[in-house]
């Protein structure tokens, strides 16, 4: 119950808050377009040395050059492909496994739920970065293992959320009705529960996407992330960090790209979750 004085000015028209959301959507779309159409959009081959290292922006290189003299803009565009693709893959995998498992645990209940939930508890009881460090040390770092490990960690959280949503929804009367029709667990989970859990799950997907993004960047820092010469934004920050000590701006470009995308996805996720203030 949110109350206000009868004299208090009415809340701002909702249209006003739309600008940042529109900007966020535009940026996300731009990144997506960059990722999809990288070969068309990038002015140079991201691996080609086209000028001296760490040239300032301008002179045909809109965002300057990187530590090897490659075109920063082209690398950012191609990097979008790697970064976004990777995060999207991680998020998608996490949901592909986390949601069915979580909903199944919720609907099945009993020992199946116990077994799954306690296993997840165990893995969630361990710090994610440590888990990733150990897991990647065991499996070796490659794009595939990186994706799988990060997806596994994200799936734990997705499982918990899906299970919580599922448990809540499973007690709804319409689920009872479906059970009274004699419908099976799978059908109930898919037709009755999933559509109603979609809202929070979509918001969570945005969040997971951002976390995957930053997580991969952190792993890149520890030398376990995306490996050069592939251009991912986190790795580009890392590669170009040396310019900071010269007052160069090279690392700021990918860092800003990361921050902007994270913020944009966040904003959109919030909006998807409903309510401009509900964060």
């Amino acid at each position: 119950m949110s109350l206000h004085d009868i004299t208090a000015p009415p809340l701002r028209a909702p249209g006003f808050a739309r600008l940042p959301v529109l900007a966020a959507a535009a940026f996300c779309l731009a990144c997506l377009a960059a990722a999809v159409a990288a070969p068309v959009l990038a002015p140079h081959d991201p691996a080609d040395l086209v000028a001296l290292p760490w040239q300032p922006p301008g002179d045909g290189f809109l965002l300057g050059t990187d530590q090897l003299g490659r075109d920063m803009l082209s690398r950012i565009i191609w990097g979008a492909r790697v970064s976004i693709g990777l995060s999207a893959a991680i998020t998608a995998l996490a949901f592909a496994f986390g949601v069915p498992a979580g909903l199944a645990a919720a609907v099945l209940g009993g020992w199946a739920d116990q077994a799954m939930s306690r296993t997840v508890d165990l893995f969630m009881a361990l710090p994610p970065l440590i888990l990733a460090l150990l897991a990647l040390s065991v499996t070796g770092t490659s794009l595939v293992t990186l994706t799988l490990v990060a997806a596994f960690l994200a799936a734990l959280r997705v499982f918990r959320l899906s299970r919580a949503l599922g448990v809540d929804l499973a007690t709804r009367d319409f689920v009872d009705i479906a059970r009274l029709r004699g419908e099976g667990t799978l059908r109930i989970a898919a037709c009755e529960i999933l559509p109603n859990a979609a809202g929070p799950l979509i918001a969570e997907a945005g969040l997971r996407f951002v976390f995957a993004f930053l997580f991969v960047a952190s792993l890149s820092f520890l030398g376990l992330g995306v490996q050069p010469p592939m251009a991912d934004w986190g790795g580009m920050v890392r590669e170009n960090a040396g310019a900071l000590n010269y007052g160069g701006i090279a690392p700021l470009v990918p860092a800003a790209a990361i921050a902007l995308l994270a913020i944009s996805v966040n904003l959109l996720g919030d909006r998807a979750a409903g309510g401009r203030t509900g964060r």
Binding site: L68, G223, E239
Partner: protein, 531 residues
């Protein structure tokens, strides 16, 4: 080169210059005529008298697994600590000659199979005991035998017997002649410790500094050994090593004046450090080189013309300019550094010549060539990026190179020296002697024959040269060996990378030293601090 900046990368990733790199390099001493003409305040000038005292702080690569035991040491930390705490039988003098240290003199019997070393008298260990032949024999034998866990075990394998001839004289018998044997005792593994010593948390040596604290992976401190036997050495009052692994943090620490010395400086930082005036940068041209080894047992690389095409298809200058920022020299596909006295000065430089490369391909009966090049950060950081430069250049010559980036973990075990790979990258720190260099990499039975190349004539000359004590003959033979490698072997050696060190402005007595970083790892006993 990106990652040149992280000579050590972060701990999780195998060191940029790991295993084949750092580990050997300690024992590595290219004889070189250092880079001349430095006009830095810190570079030794005759008129200046060294001052005593002060605390010398160095940023060193290390890990919590570090130990003071030279036999098991890892990382830069172990090497630097070894030369700070201990002495060795011989040392590489700043003038690049082999100088006596704890051995006053040595002599080889003809054939170089038997050697007698006369030890210095009156040298005291930090605990007050006087050094004798027993200590030296113990120190050598630690690296020999079944149970030895030492990194120098292979190096000492040729020794058949170490005999005590007197309280300060020993004799060493080898399985086969080796004119360069004394060089083997200059490596950091071969530190001289008291007979029976094994308390490595409190190391005892005869070196210029006595260790006062040691936190593995964090820091270590020394104070000057008041009874140091060497004249005019070990000037500073205290030495502190801070373990710094993050590339950015290392440079920042030097820039902000928190450390005085830093080895393994990223070429990218050189210009900035020089320009800022916050540091003196010392380049030491030495034997460190990068290699691409084409598999000579595998078609089409078994055809020498294909190998020649590969050698002409690489733009060495571009790699030097862009990746090393000029901090090095271009290579000529043979492993002896231009700074080495045995360097073959008459060998013509292979240029970047796509046309010629095409020509050689045609000679080999090929229209084009495509191959996979394995790179890995296990060699040197950013090796994949250097590979990209090779790819770009080779494209012009109709050679398609697919640059494979292999995970650092397992690169040395599974990719490198794997007879099914077409071309692998490697890095070499050079060796104290040309013989060691060639016998480890180029001899037909060399343990690390990365190009799977063998040439009976080459092998014969190599064995002959090893036992040859006459300098003129040696030189002739080694020149011949270099020319054979240059023309025929499977190696593309694009560049020799300088050892780059940086020091704070107050450090004096600096001198380019070709054998390794930080004045051949002996900076603690050679530099002094201006007040």
């Amino acid at each position: 080169m990106t990652d040149q900046k992280r000579p050590a990368a972060v701990p999780a990733r195998p060191r940029a210059i790991s295993r084949r790199g750092l580990l050997q390099s300690a024992a590595a001493f290219g004889l070189a005529s250092g880079a001349g003409g430095l006009l830095l305040p810190g570079v030794a000038r005759a008129q200046e008298v060294p001052q005593s005292g002060g605390t010398l702080r160095a940023g060193i690569l290390g890990a919590s697994s570090n130990t003071n035991d030279p036999a098991l040491r890892q990382d830069e930390f172990g090497v630097m600590a070894a030369y700070t705490t201990f002495n060795h039988l011989v040392e590489i003098a700043p003038d690049k000659t082999l100088a006596p240290e704890l051995a006053e003199s040595w002599e080889a019997a003809p054939g170089a199979k038997e050697w007698v070393f006369n030890l210095r008298k009156g040298v005291e260990f930090h605990d007050g005991r006087t050094m004798t032949a027993d200590d030296v024999i113990y120190s050598i034998n630690r690296h020999r035998g079944e149970a030895s866990q030492s990194g120098a075990k292979a190096l000492m394998a040729a020794i058949e017997e170490v005999e005590k001839l007197g309280s300060h004289q020993i004799r060493i018998r080898l399985a086969s002649g080796n004119a360069d044997l004394p060089w083997n005792f200059s490596g950091d593994h071969m530190a001289i410790v008291p007979d029976g010593f094994d308390n490595w948390m409190k190391p005892v040596g005869t070196g210029g500094y006595v260790q006062t604290s040691f936190e593995p992976g964090v820091r270590a401190t020394w104070e000057r050994n008041p009874n140091y036997w060497k004249e005019g050495r070990a000037h500073v009052g205290e030495v502190e090593f801070l373990v710094l692994n993050d590339p950015q943090a290392r440079i920042a620490a030097l820039q902000s004046g928190q450390i005085d010395a830093l080895g393994l400086v990223d070429p990218v930082a050189v210009e900035m450090l020089k320009g800022s005036g916050a540091a003196q940068v010392v380049n030491s041209a030495g034997g460190q080189f990068w290699s691409y080894a084409a598999n000579c047992k595998l078609a089409p690389f078994d055809n020498v013309n294909v190998r020649r095409a590969l050698k002409h298809g690489i733009d060495r200058q571009k790699i030097l300019d862009i990746v090393l920022r000029g901090n090095g020299r271009i290579g000529n596909d043979q492993p002896v550094a231009a700074t080495d006295p045995l360097f073959n000065t008459e060998l013509g430089q292979t240029p970047y010549d796509p046309e010629k490369a095409r020509y050689y391909l045609k000679e080999a009966g090929l229209d084009g060539l495509s191959l996979q090049l394995d790179t890995s950060d296990a060699t040197y950081a950013g090796s994949a990026n250097v590979g990209q430069l090779y790819r770009q250049a080779a494209q012009e010559a109709g050679i398609g190179i697919e640059v494979m980036r292999q995970p650092a973990d397992g690169y040395w075990d599974q990719i490198w020296l794997n007879p099914s790979r077409q071309m692998t990258s490697g890095v070499w720190m050079g060796r104290p002697t040309v013989d060691m260099l060639m016998s480890t990499i180029f001899a037909g039975d060399a343990p690390w024959n990365e190009a799977f190349w063998s040439d009976p004539r080459f092998d014969g000359i190599l064995v002959e040269a090893r036992a040859e004590l006459d300098p003129a003959k040696r030189k002739e033979m080694y020149w011949e060996l270099q020319s054979i490698i240059h023309a025929d072997a499977g190696h593309v050696i694009p560049v020799f990378a300088d050892f780059i060190d940086a020091y704070s402005p107050r450090v004096r007595g600096l001198m380019p030293t070709p054998s390794w970083y930080l004045m051949g790892a002996r900076f603690t006993e050679r530099v002094w601090l201006a007040s």
